[in-house]
Symmetry: C2
């Protein structure tokens, strides 16, 4: 093949991507054609000349990761997946954005082979990639040995203006720079256009200087369609110890005579006339959509052979590694063993009954430290609150640029990037990431928590200081609505354990849950360690709620008191007051409301007999949602206002979280029901 | 006074601040002494030599604003407020962090005179100050005339490492740089320490270079205790068109022999022994706390005279302005007239009944444009989604560095900074700020929304694309849990209007509400404009919920269907199906659940008669919280999973939001109830 022919083929490869995107959006009459048209060249170069992946096995452990942070350009990714031989057909492209297709509006992890993470909410892909790079650096440091680079891949992303404007990307960039994550290579699709118009409207900062300030190598390519320049920049990026941002000047809607460089190319179909003109402009067959020339198809499909060869080579390397480094190989296997968590039950610490007790955050720290030696993949940290969140693994090194083997992460005051990075770590495989901050600051993390839930990732959030019980720091630090807000997130489980043993059981449940994230809500203040049969407690926590104490006598109780977390001790005391009055009272601890709600009716009715309508739920948080469990005849003792700054005992008194107030509420119900 | 004496006095002023902070924390046995000890010198210089304020009138319009973004250092601010003569007594300082005191753990706006904004959650003060600077620049451009600088003040802040690590501050910094907000002067307390230890652990970026990249002037002061250098830097900052960051190298816990430069100085009392040593080290009287030397008191109190003189001068200027610029003065008065909103009812557009109808986001845009000419303070924009959010005021200029008179703001893809800036604009006074994005991205804004609610600010959020009804963009863009999450926030009102006229009424309610923020949840898709008496509709929306259609016949209905937003039309149709079966059905539109819940029982029971237990609530969002209105015997048609990518009509069918499905649900209840 001559250079001319090759260039022609190269150009046609690029135009194939462009026109598949245009046609997909046009067929759906919905979507974002402009970004794929502008970024097709860089994507083609990256996927053909650099990306090490195996389309027939998207799960190959040592593949490069590709993140389309500008997720609205999803047709770019779907086109690449189709062309390089993933299980994404041309018909799938034609079903873009339709019910049941594997080509939804934005890329969804777990939904489409080859999609490494769900993107669309801007900045998330950027920060998630940083988590992937953390995971890769950590595993490389732990497992690679001379001649055996088991972990030897890059994290690539295409990021757009929106990604760089979002604060989460700055947090992640600063962290990546500090950690010198040299395997990160981000292509910045610098097209000067956002939805409202020119980026000059709102985004005039010197992006290159900002990233350099954060410790990144910044490379600039003045024409994003210059494939040689793109390739040269990527090659330079691969050989640097710093993370790299390659800023490529591109043209949104490239090839569309009337929409190139226009905001109107961003988020709507080009329209039939403009599609025709674009075909003409790009030298594409007229009046045919979803065209893939044979030589283009063959060219892209070479990714399959390259991938198969690369994976075979890696398999051989792993086999030799098993022979020469058997101990490390065992650890490697353990890391990737989905059943590893099933062996943790026996490691859980047992806390003896104790009236003084301990804060559940303290118990959480002890559980974490008991599990860490046995769970090779447990790795995490805090957003600069480790001493408060009790998230440090004792005796473990910090994960730092100087030592990537450490499992203690230092995220800095960057809750949002932390949450996104945890997603990336979980996606990378083998790791069970956790991250801590105060519960109130879950607000900062919410967009990334949502994606963890959507992707079904095993991520654990260690949220301490979980109510007004944190006391003097006051309303800015006291969560009120946060339990409700988190419980409303589909596929997220929120545990608010009542004492040290419930905390251990909650950790167990979180570990054993492979299909989604778990948030722990833990106290700052001490709570008694309750005297209860441990087996019953663990079984009960695993079902989200259970009878923790029951009044004497047969048949249904007269009153049911439901509590969570630190309020369970209050409710138990209230039950004693009621018992003294001769009221048969049941106490239900409900550490995970949504898990309890998911139990079969028989269990739920056994815990909360429908005939017992006198029910009081007690939780130092917003009342929203408790009516589902108390019913119309019940009452909720909660807090639907912001808290206050004072010692917590005073706050509990002032806001009515006392045994006497709860008992009085129950008596009131008994009088009227 | 000789220079030596002055220096001695100056030093003692600074040490007074330090020791008041130490003593306040020690007395409370809770708090953050280290930051005030390190930042006392810069604060003293700023408050004595530069800050133009009037302690006897904290509401003076042309005062400089001071924001303590590092809000955990609240004792620094309380000491300054006390010393300069605000209504904060020495006893108040002694009651730091106690129930009912005006000196809570973190500064709270509206709670303590002189506190300009609530801070504590890091980054918020930084970004809120940018909103204040936007407001100041806008008002200056609109009202200042040669010789009459009515708006002529600075926005100062002290920001810490945590503030700079948070992504929201980067968003705000980039925006401030683009807008060239030269009245912003931020003192960066660069103390090299965060809670987990040295900032080297996680924060090694070149902060100065980053801010320069964002268009800021950066000044560096190598010794934050060098008062002359601090003063010189502030003077330079005041004379630059760019926002300024003054990085001052400080020592956390300065003066404490064992805790200076240690993370342990950050968030806990020094302890009695260390307090004693600190007093010794700073040359302070031993064994006495809360010491304010007489000459120090007199020196700080001069702020009152200075402030009174400055305000008098400004009053004179305003009087002359009224004479020479009567039209502008009228506009000025209108801007600051709390009753201005009461005159908007007649401006509201009226939408005739229309089966095709329009999207409520479109109606919102029309309402906004009807109100903008009559409400001088209405000002806002979108986080790069103006064409979708319909947030542009037609014919109004952009607020830009070239023209600060415009009321259309371009926030860029920076939802979080937008929300915080809206707070700052509202705090600055006179403006009614609004900001738009997709409802799902309210997640990015939540920490700032929470503060708006806590501070009771009139801020309006224009959240469009409010459900799976946005269709093809898919689950990443489809809110599910967001209505529940926002409704759980104390003092926030969420309106989800059913049609164009309800949208107008919701805007009216939002405008008329001075004591807190309102979130609008608006459709992307068209909804019918319902045929109903307009007066009844407006009265009903103002109460949060009302009977929008009632079955024929006397007495209670057999079934009540409750809907919000786009589901009201579905529910009305379902009622027709039920009526055809002879079922007497009431339809309740409940655009604001929390407002309805706040009505007196009589009204609520009239709308939802307790005897009618067959109730179905229908909303394309999480079901959480609806049981409060449906009761134990009712049902909720909602969505407790993530959505999907497809045309919205198909999604509505698949997820059961159809008249037939709703009617069937009601029939099922009738059978079993």
């Amino acid at each position: 093949m001559t250079t001319d022919e090759r260039q022609t083929l190269e150009q046609r490869c690029i135009n194939t991507i462009r026109m598949l995107a245009v046609d997909g959006v046009e067929r759906a009459q919905s979507g974002h054609p402009g970004m794929p048209m502008g970024a097709a060249a860089m994507a083609s170069v990256l996927w053909q000349d650099f990306l090490r992946h195996h389309p027939a096995n998207p799960a190959w452990l040592d593949r490069d990761r590709f993140v389309l942070s500008a997720g609205h350009g999803s047709m770019l990714l779907y086109a690449l997946l189709h062309l390089t031989g993933y299980d994404v057909s041309l018909d799938d492209l034609k079903n873009f954005r339709q019910w049941g297709s594997c080509t939804p509006g934005h890329p969804e992890y777990g939904h489409t082979p080859g999609v490494e993470t769900t993107t669309g909410p801007l900045g998330q892909g950027f920060a998630t990639g940083v988590g992937m790079a953390i995971a890769a650096a950590h595993k490389a440091a732990r497992f690679n040995r001379p001649g055996y680079n088991l972990v030897d891949h890059y994290i690539y992303a295409i990021v757009g203006d929106g990604d760089l404007m979002e604060g989460v990307s700055q947090e992640a960039a600063s962290l990546a720079g500090t950690l010198k994550l040299g395997r990160l290579i981000y292509l910045y699709d610098d097209n000067h256009i956002s939805i409202e118009g020119s980026t000059d409207l709102a985004f005039t900062e010197d992006r290159a200087a900002r990233f350099r300030a954060c410790g990144w190598q910044v490379l600039e390519v003045s024409d994003g369609n210059d494939t040689a320049a793109v390739a040269a920049a990527i090659a330079v990026a691969r050989n640097d110890e710093r993370p790299s941002l390659i800023a490529l000047r591109t043209r949104i809607g490239f090839g569309s005579p009337h929409k190139q460089d226009c905001a109107s190319a961003h988020g709507e179909p080009l329209g039939a006339d403009e599609v025709r003109l674009t075909r003409e402009c790009l030298g594409w067959p007229a009046d045919r959509d979803f065209v893939v020339p044979d030589d283009v198809a063959a060219q892209f499909l070479r990714a399959r052979e390259r991938g198969a060869a690369a994976e075979r080579e890696w398999d051989d390397k792993l086999a030799a590694y098993r022979r020469d480094h058997p101990d490390l190989a065992r650890e490697w296997d353990e890391l990737h063993d989905p059943d590893a968590v099933s062996r943790i039950a026996e490691e859980l610490p047992v806390f003896p009954p104790d009236e003084k007790g301990m804060a559940t955050r303290a118990a959480s720290g002890k559980v974490l430290n008991a599990l860490a030696p046995r769970l090779a993949g447990l790795m995490g940290g805090s957003a600069d609150l480790a001493p408060s969140n009790k998230t440090l693994i004792d005796g473990e090194a910090d994960f730092s640029a100087a030592d990537y083997t450490g499992r203690n992460l230092r995220f800095g005051v960057r809750e949002h990037a932390m949450a996104a990075a945890l997603n990336g770590m979980a996606l990378h495989g083998g790791l069970i990431p956790y991250g801590g901050t105060f519960l109130v600051f879950s607000d900062y993390m919410k967009p990334a928590i949502r994606l963890a839930a959507m992707m079904g990732l095993r991520v654990i959030y260690v949220f301490t200081h979980d109510s007004i019980g944190l006391g003097e720091d006051g309303p800015t630090h006291q969560p009120v609505e946060h339990l409700a807000a988190l419980r409303a997130v589909p596929n997220l489980r929120v545990f608010r354990p009542a004492d040290a043993n419930e905390t251990a059981a909650a950790w167990k449940a979180a570990m054993e849950r492979a299909a989604g994230p778990t948030a722990m809500a833990l106290t700052r203040q001490n709570v008694p360690t309750i005297d209860i049969n441990l087996e019953a407690l663990r079984a009960g926590v695993a079902r989200g709620g259970y009878v923790i104490a029951d009044g004497d006598g047969d048949g249904d109780p007269e009153v049911i008191l439901i509590g969570t977390g630190s309020e369970v001790a209050i409710v138990l005391e209230a039950a004693r007051l009621l018992a003294a009055d001769g009221v048969r009272t049941r106490v239900v601890s409900m550490p995970c409301r949504e898990l309890f709600a998911a139990q079969e009716r028989g269990y739920r009715d056994a815990v909360l007999p429908p005939a017992v309508t006198c029910r009081v739920a007690v939780e130092a948080g917003a009342t929203m949602g408790w009516e589902r469990f108390t019913g119309s005849g019940g009452a909720v003792v909660g807090i639907d206002r912001f808290g206050a700054s004072a010692p917590y005992q005073e706050l509990y008194r002032r806001f009515g979280f006392t045994p006497a107030a709860v008992a009085e509420r129950a008596r009131g119900l008994l009088r009227t029901n």
